[in-house]
Symmetry: C2
Subunit: 126 residues, 2 copies
């Protein structure tokens, strides 16, 4: 029996689409940041489907907002555990949201001070 070409992407295609390297994608998998292992072809090669990619995009958002890899792993574990812990997942996300807001406020504050410094240069020598 010949199987139809399975859907999804090779690791190279997924990496290109996500703006990551294949090395990083395998690293994320080894750190258990993925919801499950991506499928494999008969020859043992990874196949990424749309769900995999969407989850990794979420991982990228969490990383880009400063969530440490081990915290993402904990969140992914909750998601892997299946239904019944949505309250915990929500708590994780809300705590992270608060942390990000705090960080944004702090950076904004520093930015204001830097702008003051810039305005000083402009006033004196501009």
């Amino acid at each position: 029996m010949t199987t139809v070409q399975s859907p999804g992407m090779t690791i190279g295609e997924a990496a290109a689409r996500l703006g990551l390297t294949t090395h990083t994608l395998r690293y994320y998998e080894s750190e258990q940041l993925l919801l499950g292992s991506p499928g494999r072809t008969a020859a043992g090669r990874r196949r990424y489907d749309e769900d995999d990619v969407r989850w990794i995009e979420m991982v990228q958002r969490l990383r880009a907002t400063g969530m440490p890899v081990r915290a993402i792993r904990a969140y992914a574990e909750l998601c892997r555990a299946g239904a019944g812990n949505e309250d915990q997942r929500l708590a994780v996300l809300e705590a992270h949201r608060d942390e990000v807001r705090r960080h944004l406020a702090e950076v904004t504050d520093h930015l204001d001070a830097i702008n003051h410094k810039i305005a000083g240069y402009r006033t004196v020598w501009g």
Copy 2:
């Protein structure tokens, strides 16, 4: 001739005021992030005055907004060089300001997406 107690703080006092460790303060100095070496007592101990502390507060702001140590060193070098390069200093600060703004926009965007995810949890199970 007895000298009046020199003004300023020990490294420990400066560290406490800045929320840094003495290790970090010496590290910053070794990385040439300071405007000049802080003064020394006759016994060779560092003395930090108000100007030193204010500059280090600026360094903290630049660090907290993501400027790498080597970029701060470059900026400090410009400042140490004395008058005549204010346009370059301004360019450095403005480039950094733009970078920080870009970063803020990106994080804000990710935050929105995370909030959507949170809203999803609330809608379905909340």
